[in-house]
């Protein structure tokens, strides 16, 4: 006979200890604990300990300040999707492998599944919503549609964000550079041919001032 518990914690790392470990100190500054959930650890420079339990904090998403109440252990992806109905970033691998959750943090691409929401306090979060709408698509988004760079489309927002970053940094990429730059975004339906053509064409059209 044996007893098993899913998700049991063999190392006995408590959530409290974990948060201390990752140094969520600066982030915790914006985290207002509900009840007894925030504490100052011993010592002057020691990080604040937050949680367990809900806290309230503010995230800046696509230029808007949004107040959210969530546990400190919640990832940015879960907080955006579950609390704020910001669902363009998708949850696929949930561990930094596929790129489907790619967003910008202060203009740099990041995997929303692989950071805590409270690490994003005080930073500028930008999602695909800032890049265009169906009525006013960016040159890259138009090229994605034209080159049929999506099938089911579940990977597409991640690709658009990653490819936007690629073109920001290298407005004139070679085919090889597109392959390198987007090699970390995965797609099960197999839309890579369209993605590659779309990015190359968007680079051309952006040069033309379009």
């Amino acid at each position: 006979m044996s007893k098993e518990t899913r998700g049991s914690d063999p190392q006995g790392v408590s959530r409290r200890g974990f948060l201390k470990g990752v140094g969520a100190g600066s982030a915790a500054a914006g985290f207002i604990g509900v009840g007894e959930n925030t504490a100052q650890a011993e010592g002057q420079d020691a990080p604040a300990i937050v949680g367990p339990g809900d806290g309230t904090y503010t995230l800046n998403i696509d230029g808007e300040s949004k107040e959210v109440t969530a546990e400190p252990r919640a990832t940015l992806l879960d907080v955006m999707r579950n609390r704020l109905d910001v669902t363009s970033a998708k949850k696929v691998c949930d561990r930094g492998t596929c790129g489907a959750c790619t967003i910008f943090i202060d203009g740099e691409p990041a995997y929303a599944c692989s950071m805590l929401a409270l690490e994003a306090i005080g930073h500028k979060i930008t999602t695909i919503a800032s890049l265009g709408t169906p009525e006013m698509m960016s040159a890259l988004q138009k090229a994605f549609v034209k080159h049929d760079a999506q099938q089911c489309g579940f990977c597409t927002p991640g690709f658009i964000v990653a490819a936007t970053d690629l073109l920001n940094k290298n407005p004139n990429p070679t085919r090889e550079q597109v392959r390198d730059g987007l090699g970390g975004n995965l797609c099960r339906c197999g839309t890579y041919v369209g993605v590659q053509e779309a990015v190359l064409e968007a680079a051309q059209s952006m040069k033309g001032g379009a």
């Binding site: 949850k91 596929c98 197999g190």
Partner: protein
């Protein structure tokens, strides 16, 4: 009068042109709402408790600690396994729904299950572990034929279990109460998703509403509502709140469906001129705890005069198989085409010559001959081809490989309602779904084509079970089914309108047609009214007509057909020092009858090639043979091909006379069948010996080289 037959090439307004998919803009801007994205007020989050054992008695399930937790609103346990067995790792035993996803995860960790583990069968590579008697088949006189053959090749081939790995996990959001239910699932089967659910949920089945406008991939794994559909529904009913239940990635890979393995020895006999005379295949494999049918061998070369085959099922304690894009075909294709190519190599013959020599053994010799020539031109076969292993000095060897495949692709039964309103608007309602293949776009094209209107003048409503019933999207049956039912409904509705207009114009309805936004006397736009003028004649009425696709009838009418063939070739480089296989180029030549949207059709073929590269080079479910746990149940070690892995891909669609007049045929499965075979053959051609198993990982390549190939 409009006739439902497809218009001739010079009369086509939309059909056959490369159109952008209509949901491209919402997908490319992140606004498309998938099941996973549905958030409704008061929604709870569910998590499931999967079995840790591959085979065990379940003595007790204790959910008291979870139930006592703040924020937990409903708990479910599977009474069906209590006191009985769980049969694979990941089998769902219990579930909780809580206010937040974090609380649900914490609560599920508090569930305690007391098991008595038993010895499970995990391994699928030993045919002696098979259950039941093998299936057997004999044609002609194989023993004599092998005796008489000038050359006999014998080899071992294997292709392991792989999984669907849909980007959007299986699952749904639902809201269930006594009176009825609303489900937002990720499904391939909107019309029949709820079938059989009513009783388990205690809800009248006719009151279960299903909506799925976009979905994040299925590939054959999302036909039913599944256990998690019922569990989500029961949790919702218990809590009196909507519930979101999506599988986590590890479970998705373990229990969301997989493709059966296939292993075995194949013997091929041929005369000295390269004519294949006999084949003998002894195959085995597992579909986990699901069923198993051995793959079709010989594949495509089905007319080999003397055949012997046997297939042995190994019933393992693993998640059950589900249809995986072209069920059985990629395995049968790989095993057959590899054995054929090995036979060519043994004869010292060029593989292309050998394949061509034996096309009489297929059902479509002329088509394959044509396609092989086109593919050979596209890949530069003449310039690049060499006999097996004749690939020069240096550690990087280059080679070409060939494969051919077949599929049915007949349209499924489908019903569609078309309405024409007095304000000139046109819409259809059809209970189909768009898996990302362009169904919504194609239905709209057919509707607009029939009315002689631009695309934006008509609207297709799909993805809801309130609409007329259309088949599940599997087996490449959708496009033939929905384009036929839409065409039939649209033609019937248009003819009603022509009757009204004819009476007003004083013309015979038989002489009228819809063309370029007008209703006119056929070929004479001086006697015409605009579309809007014509519809205004309806006054306060609308026209509503239903089209029913009955596959037999529609095939006779030429609206749809079945039976396609395709050819693919691969150009690869293999580094014999590292074992790394690189795809330089792949070409695909494919027929599928009348193509509705050339752009989304071409995308399908690209997608098939890329999925094919993935299972040829990377994909494999690795199980721990002792515990039955899948060791790579994540996307880091269950590897998919990325943009850097696919090389250059070229697609040629067979269209025009000889193809178009067959009507519409499905395209989802065919392009994914050949890549494994073509790539494996290219590797053998490059390095001079067969790597007997897929995927062609560096370790397998190096092992094969170290062994010096098969005897």
């Amino acid at each position: 009068m409009a006739s439902p037959q497809w218009p001739k090439a010079d009369k086509r307004l939309h059909i056959g042109k490369p159109y952008d998919r209509l949901d491209g803009p919402i997908k490319s801007t992140g606004q498309a709402k998938y099941a996973y994205d549905v958030n409704v007020p008061g929604m709870l989050y569910a998590k499931v408790f999967p079995s840790r054992y591959a085979l065990a008695d379940v003595n007790s399930i204790d959910t008291s600690a979870a139930e006592a937790m703040d924020g937990v609103k409903a708990v479910w346990i599977d009474e069906g396994v209590l006191g009985k067995e769980v049969r694979y790792v990941g089998q769902i035993i219990a579930a909780v729904a809580a206010e937040t996803e974090e609380l649900a995860a914490e609560a599920i960790a508090l569930v305690k299950v007391d098991y008595t583990p038993k010895e499970a069968l995990i391994i699928d590579t030993d045919p002696s572990l098979g259950s039941g008697r093998p299936s057997e088949r004999e044609e002609g006189t194989p023993a004599e034929a092998f005796e008489a053959a000038d050359v006999v090749h014998e080899g071992y081939y294997g292709i392991p279990v792989i999984t669907h790995c849909c980007f959007e996990a299986h699952g749904q959001v639902c809201d269930v109460n006594e009176a009825g239910a609303q489900f937002w699932p990720s499904t391939q089967n909107v019309s029949k998703y709820a079938n059989g659910m009513g009783e388990s949920l205690g809800v009248p089945e006719s009151e279960i509403k299903v909506d799925c406008q976009v979905m994040g991939g299925g590939f054959g794994s999302k036909f039913g509502h599944d256990k998690w559909g019922v569990v989500g529904g029961l949790l919702s009913k218990k809590a009196g709140r909507p519930v979101k239940l999506m599988l986590e990635r590890d479970l998705e890979l373990m229990v969301g469906g997989n493709r059966p393995s296939a292993y075995g020895t194949v013997k091929v006999g041929a005369d000295k001129d390269g004519n294949v005379t006999a084949i003998d295949a002894k195959l085995f494999g597992t579909g986990g705890n699901g069923g198993y049918r051995p793959p079709p061998v010989p594949y495509v070369f089905t007319k080999i005069p003397n055949q012997l085959s046997s297939g042995q099922r190994i019933q393992t304690n693993r998640g059950g198989q589900r249809a995986w894009r072209a069920p059985g075909h990629p395995q049968g294709c790989f095993i057959t085409m590899a054995a054929m190519e090995d036979t060519a190599a043994k004869l010292g013959m060029d593989a292309l010559d050998f394949f061509k020599q034996n096309l009489a053994l297929t059902n479509r010799p002329e088509l394959y001959a044509q396609e092989l020539d086109i593919a050979a031109d596209m890949i530069g076969y003449k310039e690049k081809a060499h006999l097996r292993g004749d690939s020069g000095d240096g550690p990087v060897k280059r080679g070409l490989g060939i494969s051919i495949h077949q599929w049915g692709g007949a349209g499924h039964p489908s019903e569609c309602d078309v309405s024409i309103h007095a304000d000139g608007s046109v819409e259809c309602r059809i209970g189909t779904q768009d898996l990302g293949v362009g169904t919504r776009t194609c239905v709209t094209m057919v509707l607009a084509e029939t009315m002689g209107l631009p695309m934006d003048a008509v609207k297709a409503n799909i993805g809801n079970n309130a609409y007329p019933i259309s088949g599940a999207s599997g087996g490449s049956t959708t496009i033939g089914g929905v384009s036929s039912s839409t065409r039939l409904a649209a033609t019937a509705a248009l003819n009603k309108l022509l009757d009204v207009v004819a009476a007003r114009m004083g013309e015979d309805a038989l002489s009228l047609e819809a063309s370029n936004g007008r209703i006119q006397v056929t070929g004479d736009d001086s006697k015409s009214v605009t579309w809007n003028e014509a519809c205004a004649m309806l006054g306060t009425n609308s026209i509503n007509e239903r089209g029913v696709n009955e596959p037999g009838e529609s095939t006779k009418m030429g609206l749809m057909d079945s039976g396609v063939g395709g050819c693919q070739m691969a150009d690869v480089s293999v580094d014999i020092e590292t074992g790394v296989v690189t795809i330089n180029e792949m070409v695909a030549v494919q027929d599928c009858g009348l193509i509705i949207d050339m752009k989304t059709a071409t995308t399908q073929v690209h997608g098939g090639l890329i999925m094919g590269v993935t299972y040829a080079l990377f994909e494999e479910c690795v199980y721990d043979n002792r515990t039955g746990r899948m060791l790579n149940a994540d996307m880091e070690f269950y590897r998919l091909a990325g943009l850097k892995d696919i090389g250059t891909l070229k697609v040629h669609m067979m269209t025009g006379p000889g193809f178009d007049e067959r009507g519409v045929i499905g395209l989802g499965e065919p392009p994914v069948i050949s890549p494994g075979a073509a790539i494996s053959n290219a590797v053998a051609n490059a390095i001079g010996l067969r790597v007997p198993e897929l995927p062609l990982t560096p370790d397998r390549v190096l092992n094969a080289i170290a062994k010096g190939g098969q005897s």
